[in-house]
């Protein structure tokens, strides 16, 4: 079972050195315990481009699909047997990156 662990932020500031080090430790643990699938940090909403080609005429918009105070800034994809394990890992992850986290199952 895989979960998308989204990192939510409301500030454009990058992770501090301290946060970066804590994330590295957390990532190593995910890998050592077999939970690691993939992870990455993202550019802010200002760097986003939305494409809508539902009508055959591709429409390109500068910016995120929805403007909001809080937005996605990075994510992990983890392997976990159930939500309890995923939430326990996400709890650690939130502490490591010092950000709010959303956990969602892949279907």
């Amino acid at each position: 079972m895989q979960y998308l662990v989204s990192v939510i932020t409301n500030s454009t500031e990058l992770a501090t050195d301290e946060e970066g080090a804590a994330i590295d430790v957390f990532n190593s643990r995910l890998q050592a315990e077999g939970h690691w699938v993939f992870a990455g940090g993202l550019g802010g909403p200002d760097t986003a481009t939305v494409i809508d080609n539902r009508g055959g005429q591709p429409l390109v918009t500068d910016g995120p699909f929805v403007e909001s105070k809080e937005y996605l800034i990075g994510f992990w994809i983890i392997e976990a047997p159930d939500l309890d394990v995923a939430l326990a890992l996400a709890t650690e992850g939130s502490k490591a990156c010092n950000r709010k986290i959303e956990v969602r199952p892949f279907l």
């Binding site: 079972m1 047997p81 159930d82 939500l83 309890d84 939430l87 969602r104 199952p105 279907l107």
Partner: protein, 392 residues
């Protein structure tokens, strides 16, 4: 087993319901009939049968007799190992912290207590379709996000048990004093279900002091039910109740549990302290002989554990009995910032003002309390006290 049934039926809803019924049957029959040679297979067969006639059974549910039966302990339950574990798993799943509180309450009543969606919707004054959606959504989340059917680990258990007890206490309180005007002011079916489920948790986790404490608390409150409502449908305060109408059997059991916890010697939690307070009340033959000093000491202990304004408000009631209404009013007034919109705050303040002969202020506070209350029986009681304040 719910997992196995889900795989077999391909329907979480039906599987959970059927499994819960099968466990209930097992709990009832195995102590007398003996555990069958293949308990797992027996449960699966029973659950399958239950699934098939679940709809028909649901229509026959209800009735006052059943409510009455739910209330009393039917003897010492034999610990049943695997069966108990399964039932506990279901409770922990329904009360999972990843679900919203209202979903936990609804799911527990549906899956564990077996109430129909319509009954739950009525209890919480929402449309049946809305309640149905809430339950469906919660079940879909359990399935898709894979909330496990598993007892929490030893590390998580205390926090998770307290989550389960919070759900059961919420169900009980809604029955004890319904929050809205659209239902009976006291909903016996909810208090009965809450007591039944708390009995179960208590039987399954006998070492948990708070489970015992919550059960004792519920029993000691439930024991006073017959004396709480006047024939005219007005709530009767503790000091005005006819104590001969209290249920001695429930009181005896509640007192036994409180004594058991005292003997255990462990530091009591919130429910144990509330149970102890209610044990003091139910030990007094009349309101005058209430040991307020002991009640105040218990509230002091509770306040250290849970320094909430509501505890402080209840403590002030004991202070009024010991140090007089003037001292108590001072304590109550300090809570105005947080509790001014809470009906019990206004009602307590009104009572104190009335005792101090400050009639006009007292009536204004009663009016405010009446505005803030949704419960018809409580409104009737507040009106009577307000009018007494006018003449006295």
């Amino acid at each position: 087993m719910v997992g196995a049934l889900t795989r077999r039926f391909g329907d979480l809803d039906l599987a959970e319901e059927a499994a819960a019924e099968a466990f209930a049957t097992a709990v009832q029959r195995w102590p007398t009939d003996g555990v069958p040679p293949a308990p797992g297979a027996w449960l699966t067969t029973t659950a399958t049968r239950k699934a098939i006639d679940s709809i028909r059974r649901e229509n026959k549910r209800g009735g006052k007799q059943k409510e009455a039966q739910l209330l009393y302990d039917d003897g010492p339950g034999e610990p049943l190992g695997a069966v108990d574990d399964e039932r506990l798993r279901l409770i922990f799943t329904c009360c999972h912290p990843a679900l919203a509180m209202e979903s936990r309450v609804a799911l527990t009543l549906r899956m564990v207590a077996g109430l129909s969606v319509a009954e739950i919707a009525r209890a919480f004054l929402v449309q049946e379709s809305a309640m149905g959606r809430r339950i469906t959504r919660a079940k879909a989340k359990i399935k898709l996000a894979r909330i496990p059917y598993r007892l929490p680990s030893a590390d998580d258990l205390p926090a998770r048990v307290s989550g389960v007890l919070a759900v059961l206490y919420l169900v009980f309180n809604e029955g004890y004093l319904a929050s809205g005007p659209g239902t009976d002011p006291v909903r016996n079916e909810l208090t009965a279900e809450a007591i039944r489920l708390t009995r179960l948790v208590r039987a399954l986790l006998p070492q948990d002091g708070e489970a015992a404490g919550l059960l004792a608390l519920m029993l000691l409150i439930e024991a006073r039910r017959a004396a709480r409502l006047s024939p005219g449908g007005e709530l009767i305060a503790l000091d005005e109740q006819d104590r001969t109408a209290w249920d001695r059997t429930l009181i005896a059991e509640g007192h036994r549990l409180v004594r058991e916890r005292l003997a255990a010697g462990a530091a009591p939690g919130r429910y144990q302290l509330l149970a102890a307070i209610n044990a003091v009340h139910t030990s007094a033959h009349d309101a005058r002989s209430t040991d307020w000093r002991q009640i105040l000491a218990l509230y002091d202990q509770l306040l250290r554990l849970d320094p909430s304004p509501i505890v402080a408000l209840n403590r002030a009631v004991a202070v009024a009995e010991l140090d007089g209404p003037q001292v108590a009013l001072g304590a109550v007034d300090r809570l105005a910032d947080t509790l001014a919109g809470y009906h019990a705050y206004q009602a307590t303040r009104a009572d104190l003002l009335r005792r101090l002969g400050r009639g006009e202020e007292s009536r204004a506070a009663y009016d405010r309390a009446i505005e803030l209350t949704g419960n018809a029986a409580e409104i009737a009681a507040l009106r009577r006290r307000r009018d007494r304040s006018r003449t006295g």
